[in-house]
């Protein structure tokens, strides 16, 4: 499994290799040059990935070559047959001999066509197979990468964009082998050899017959490149439209609560219109050009007919030769038009590929250090040593400043503070969702950056403030972190979280499917589900990030009672706003603006008469 994955993340092409390959002709834009350079290196990289399936590639290419030759034989045979009839009419040969010659031509034609079909089948199949295999590898690589990329990456990349990469861009790369590489080979050979054969038969007529080729190749490439450019734009506009729809549906309760349907329709119409307009523009780019291409083709055919006709009259060529020319032209018509598609496929693969590789080459900022060792828990002591942190987007403004505290197994640390004071951020530092900027967090003296991520995250569980539930059964959701768990353990966890009775009351019990983000559960039920899910793990440090806010005090008490034993085994950190949730803690930290402004036990803090006391008075005073 692992090897397979690594094979996809091949090292990018070294930069000077690209540099020499694509020296800009005149260096008026560095940007342009860089763009082409990167495009080329992307294509090389995809090609290398294709070559990792050498047998299939060899079959595809071999059969392409054979297919071209067979394809070109067909007009020859047709022309030959026509001429045979002509000679027979003019009495050149006896009837029987002519019949026989016709039979031979006919059988040859049949054999060549059938064979060509077979070879084309192989060509297409193997070309597609290469693409599908590469797509499979890339799919796995993307999935793995997305799963591993750190929170800060996901913070600034919209999920819709990642989905686009995983769906559309991957498709563009998949199609590269069959629609760009193999087709390029096919077209060069077909047009090249075809042109040679025509011109060597009759230079004038040959040139006339081919006169449409340069025009069509040019128009078709230009058109496809323009379509390509607008396609990117269209994709952008369509993704705006998708976002409008998706957010509307996801936030439908907000939309309804504000009776904002009209406003949402307006937003939709705006996005929709901009996409529609561009779609129309694309039709306007596409149609005139394809029509002009067809016209030029037919025009050349007319010329061949006229000039060829005159030549026949003059006795310079036979009717069969004319038939050969005309058939050749029909055979070449499609491939020549496909030049544009091929150019498009190259362009598409290079844009899609560079986006896809952009994702795959992302640095995973949070990963095991080279000498990382498994975390070993003995005492189970968590320490914050002068910890400071800022998000990449808030560089200038530290969110957490100089935090120090220590918690031993069985102890409870409580954190209170106004919104945005950095409580959740502190919690996210312990399992290394983000890395501290200064200071260190240690578990039993081991810096968390020096132990393996997997063991660390097993040892630290965070009940997230806004819970994500998966669209699957309640049972699977509870067992998410431990899918091997026995049923009794799942039930015990949900009993501790005071959810068991409720679940039993549901018609489908534990098999009830809970929807996205858990609609159809009440806020408190959702929170209890996440608590149960966390209790399935066996962490040494557990953080409850405001996870009882939507649970009434009585239920919360029961949860805590059930968890007493659970808490004895580990360090518990509670972030809460309701003081009754945390006043039993061994140490309470009051944070504001990322700093600890007060600390101590409940009694000590009350005695201090500071901000904690003020909070206490607000919640407890009995007017």
């Amino acid at each position: 499994m692992h090897r397979k994955r690594n094979s996809v993340w091949n090292t990018p092409v070294s930069s000077d290799a690209i540099g020499s390959a694509t020296k800009p002709l005149n260096s008026f834009t560095h940007v342009e040059a860089a763009g082409w350079g990167r495009g080329l290196s992307t294509l090389l990289r995809i090609t290398r990935m294709n070559l990792r399936h050498p047998w299939q590639v060899a079959f595809a290419i071999g059969s392409t070559l054979v297919a071209v030759i067979l394809q070109l034989l067909i007009p020859k045979l047709l022309g030959q047959a026509v001429d045979q009839t002509q000679t027979a009419i003019r009495g050149g040969v006896t009837g029987a001999a002519a019949e026989q010659a016709l039979w031979i031509s006919a059988l040859l034609l049949l054999a060549v066509s059938a064979l060509r079909g077979l070879v084309t089948m192989m060509q297409n199949y193997f070309a597609e197979a290469v693409g599908h295999h590469v797509a499979y590898e890339l799919r796995l690589a993307c999935y793995e990468k997305i799963q591993r990329l750190s929170f800060s990456f996901h913070d600034h990349v919209h999920s819709g964009d990642l989905i686009t990469i995983g769906l559309l861009d991957l498709e563009g790369v998949r199609m590269y082998f069959s629609t760009a590489l193999v087709r390029a080979l096919l077209l060069t050979m077909l047009i090249g050899i075809g042109a040679y054969m025509l011109i060597s038969t009759d230079p004038v007529l040959g040139l006339v017959a081919l006169s449409f080729v340069p025009f069509v190749a040019w128009r078709s490439s230009v058109t496809q490149l323009r379509l390509r450019a607008t396609w990117l734009d269209l994709q952008e506009r369509v993704s705006v439209l998708s976002r409008v729809m998706e957010e509307n549906l996801g936030g439908i309760r907000v939309v309804r609560a504000f009776a904002a349907q009209a406003y949402e329709m307006l937003k939709f119409d705006r996005a929709s219109k901009s996409a529609l307009d561009l779609a129309h523009d694309r039709v306007d780019i596409y149609v005139p050009n394809t029509s002009a291409m067809t016209l030029s083709f037919f025009f050349a055919m007319g010329l061949v007919l006229w000039i060829g006709g005159n030549k026949i009259i003059a006795g310079e060529i036979s009717v069969g030769t004319l038939a050969t020319f005309l058939t050749f032209m029909t055979i070449l018509q499609m491939p020549v038009r496909q030049i544009g598609l091929m150019v498009n496929a190259f362009a598409r693969a290079s844009t899609c590929g560079s986006r896809l590789f952009g994702l795959l080459d992302q640095d995973i900022t949070i990963r095991d250090a080279p000498d990382a060792r498994p975390l070993e828990i003995s005492e189970g002591t968590l320490r914050f040593d002068n910890v400071s942190f800022a998000y990449p987007s808030t560089e200038t403004r530290p969110i957490v400043k100089n935090i120090n505290f220590e918690a031993r197994r069985g102890e409870t640390i409580a954190i209170v503070g106004p919104p945005g004071s950095g409580k959740s951020t502190m919690a996210h530092l312990i399992p290394r969702f983000y890395d501290v900027i200064e200071g260190a967090i240690t578990l039993d003296g081991q810096d968390i950056r020096k132990v393996t991520l997997a063991t660390l995250r097993k040892a630290v569980a965070v009940v997230q403030q806004d819970a994500f539930l998966f669209t699957t059964t309640i049972e699977n959701n509870i067992a998410y972190g431990d899918p091997w768990a026995k049923e009794q353990r799942i039930e015990r966890a949900s009993e501790s979280a005071q959810l068991h009775n409720y679940i039993l009351g549901l018609p489908a019990g534990y098999e009830t499917v809970v929807g996205e983000r858990g609609v159809s559960l009440s806020g408190g039920q959702r929170q209890r589900l996440t608590i149960a899910r966390t209790m399935m793990l066996r962490p040494s440090v557990v953080v409850f990030d405001d996870s009882t806010a939507a649970i009434d005090a009585a239920t919360e008490q029961r949860i805590r009672a059930a968890m007493r034993r659970f808490a004895k085994e580990r360090v518990t950190i509670i972030i809460a706003h309701r003081l009754s949730s945390l006043m039993h803690a061994d140490q309470i930290l009051f944070v504001d603006n990322g700093e600890i402004v007060e600390r101590g036990t409940h009694e000590e803090l009350l005695a201090k008469r500071g901000r904690y006391k003020a909070l206490y008075d607000l919640q407890m005073r009995s007017e």
């Binding site: 002519a98 919209h158 067809t294 091997w484 929807g515």
Partner: protein, 637 residues
């Protein structure tokens, strides 16, 4: 006990992992049953509905069909002109060029007409199909704005999105293709006709190849269709799993599920690869067959036609024309049979689209619904309301209470007791099963939803923010709200300071769902949004649950002035939040069990006072027995 558990568990884990079995309880992606991909090829009802969307473009469709027919006609004509030229204008050694000239002239004319017709038809078809596509999507989206929330609760956003994108696109493909198949049919018949007309016998012999293709296609189609369907299905399964990984990535990482998920995903990706390879085989196997048949037809023409030429029965031009026609002749058949599967797929998509367009709107304005005037008094009344998401399991049972104009009333109670549901009824997200909800003295069912919505502003339990700036989010649909008003609201909820500390202040872009803010900050913004809505009734569902009491106190102070004369409905678990309310209603298990102000309820010594005291005391002080007692009392809920 916990330790035992752990040991038992560790042992179990290792065993299972070593022999590489899949974990029994792990899935990636929602494993819903895939919808039918191929419907009946022809579903009258669906056709009628889709036709309704095409009807506005009738004139354009007429133009494009005519252009298409002309286009096909010129395509048929060109080989005939060539034939004419060969047979009449190219006698070797001839001196009369007029036939050739005439042929060339005719050819030029034909290709010009071909150009014009092709141009017209492609432009019109291309644009019209896009228009229809966007119209259908708009109609669906508009429908979804009106369908009842109970439908939306049940339906995943991802699934609706695939309706709005995938299914609409396959409809688009169908529309375009069905026009082209008109052309294909015309071409096929045209070719058959012209071939027979040129020479009946030769035509008949050549055409005898056709049935072979039909027979092959009949055997091929069902199998190929299954293969295509499997490929499509595994594809959407794999994509669904990817989408889930993206949305749930934070949970995946915090639960260390990456490895398990990767293995599971690999299964799906591999199934996807396998089915695609099979589908490719089925698609490609037709190539040699069609090519072979083309070769056969050409061979027949050469042998039979050739001897006819030698007998002087036909001219050589006919033979050349035949060879032209044969090369074109399998195209329409090929695309028509493909058309059949496109059509089936489109019918399935069309069916799903019409399902969305036809979702019953349970909550609908009455024909004579009245607009709720902003001057109404702001009272809210529940009269014997019974309501449940599932009619057999009422969530609210015979609930009655009244909130007088300008009052602030709190709803408290254990989790799942129906508080949020009751608030949803004020806004008529759902219709009650029994009883009445009155706002401003009118049954909400007699009012237009629009006017009701404008007078009831809500802060929902789950703050939801849109992509965009902070300013846009606070202002939301009140586009007429001034900047001052937005800032005033932000100040009132204490959000102004942190907004100003963001890099671009009010113009700062929020991440997806406001991800770059803390939850409390998101809640404040959604609170501010409700204030800007400037409604007579304000519903706060746990609006300050994730906010500390001090900030909350500041908000409450600021609100006193802002909310003068307005009615407030407040839900909170932190009872301190609601202590000051004019009245407190205690819900348990969907029933109102106590009402009164704080002091009255405390004196009564019921559930409220119990909850309040729990809030108050540290739980270490509560004796076990009491906890057990309260556990028992509530386990009946």
């Amino acid at each position: 006990m916990a330790q035992e558990d752990a040991d038992e568990l560790e042992g179990e884990r290792n065993n299972v992992r070593d022999d590489g079995r899949r974990p029994p309880r792990a899935v990636v992606g929602s494993h819903r049953i895939e919808e039918e991909m191929f419907g009946r090829a022809f579903d009258q009802n669906v056709i009628r509905r889709i036709w309704a969307f095409a009807r506005p473009y009738k004139a354009k469709l007429f133009i494009s069909v005519s252009a298409l027919l002309i286009f096909t006609g010129t395509q048929l004509l060109i080989p005939l002109i060539i034939r004419y030229a060969i047979d009449h204008g190219m006698a070797p050694g001839g001196i009369d060029h007029s036939y050739l000239l005439a042929a060339a002239g005719a050819f030029l004319l034909a290709i010009l007409v071909n150009f014009a017709a092709g141009y017209t038809q492609e432009t019109v078809v291309g644009k019209t199909a896009e228009n229809v596509l966007f119209d259908i999507r708009r109609a669906m989206f508009a429908r979804l704005q009106r369908v009842s929330l109970s439908f939306m609760d049940k339906t995943e956003v991802g699934r609706l999105m695939s309706r709005l994108q995938g299914d609409v696109n396959s409809m688009h493909e169908f529309l375009e293709n069905s026009l082209y198949s008109v052309g294909d049919i015309a071409l096929l018949f045209g070719i058959v006709f012209v071939m027979l007309w040129l020479d009946f016998r030769l035509g008949l012999v050549t055409l005898s190849v056709l049935p072979i293709l039909f027979i092959v296609r009949i055997f091929w189609l069902p199998r190929a269709r299954d293969a295509f369907m499997a490929a499509h299905e595994t594809n959407s399964v794999a994509n669904g799993a990817l989408a889930e990984a993206i949305h749930g990535v934070r949970t995946v990482q915090s639960m260390e599920r990456q490895q398990v998920n990767f293995i599971l995903y690999d299964d799906k990706a591999h199934a996807n690869l396998r089915t695609h390879l099979i589908a490719a085989k089925y698609a490609q196997v037709m190539v040699p067959i069609v090519d072979g048949l083309t070769g056969l037809a050409m061979a027949v023409v050469i042998v039979v036609g050739g001897s006819m030429i030698m007998n002087g029965r036909i001219d050589v031009g006919v033979l050349v024309a035949y060879l032209f026609y044969i090369q074109r002749f399998f195209d329409p058949i090929r695309s028509l049979t493909l058309q059949y599967s496109i059509m089936q797929r489109a019918m399935a998509s069309g069916k799903r689209l019409t399902d969305v367009l036809d979702v019953k709107i349970d909550v609908q304005d009455k024909p004579d619904a009245r607009a709720l005037s902003p001057e109404m008094d702001g009272s809210v009344e529940f009269r014997n309301v019974t309501f449940g998401y599932n009619p057999n399991h009422p969530v609210l049972k015979n609930v009655s209470f009244r909130v007088h104009p300008g009052e602030t009333v709190a709803l408290v109670g254990p989790t799942g007791s129906g508080k949020s549901s009751a608030m949803a009824l004020v806004h008529r997200f759902y219709d009650v099963q029994q009883g009445q909800v009155l706002v401003g003295g009118h049954d909400v069912r007699d009012l237009t939803q629009e006017s009701l919505g404008r007078q009831v502003a809500m802060v929902l339990q789950e703050p939801f923010l849109f992509t965009g700036t902070v300013f846009d989010n606070i202002r939301y649909h009140k586009t007429e709200a001034t900047r001052d008003k937005v800032i005033e609201a932000a100040k009132a909820v204490g959000a102004h300071d942190f907004i100003m500390s963001l890099a671009d202040g009010y113009e700062a872009q929020l991440g997806e769902r406001g991800g770059n803010l803390s939850l409390g900050q998101r809640q404040l913004i959604s609170f501010a949004r409700a204030l800007v809505a400037d409604a007579k009734i304000l519903v706060l569902d746990e609006a300050t649950a994730n906010i500390d009491s001090y900030t909350e106190m500041l908000i409450q102070k600021a609100l006193i002035k802002l909310l003068e004369g307005r009615t407030g409905l407040v839900i909170a678990h932190r009872l301190a939040t609601v202590r000051g309310a004019d009245r407190i209603i205690v819900l348990q298990n969907g029933q109102v069990i106590e009402t009164g102000n704080h002091d009255q309820l405390m004196a009564a010594g019921g559930l409220y006072s119990k909850l309040y005291n729990l809030n108050y005391a540290s739980f270490d002080d509560i004796p076990e027995e009491e906890l057990d007692a309260s556990a028992q009392a509530d386990s009946q809920t």
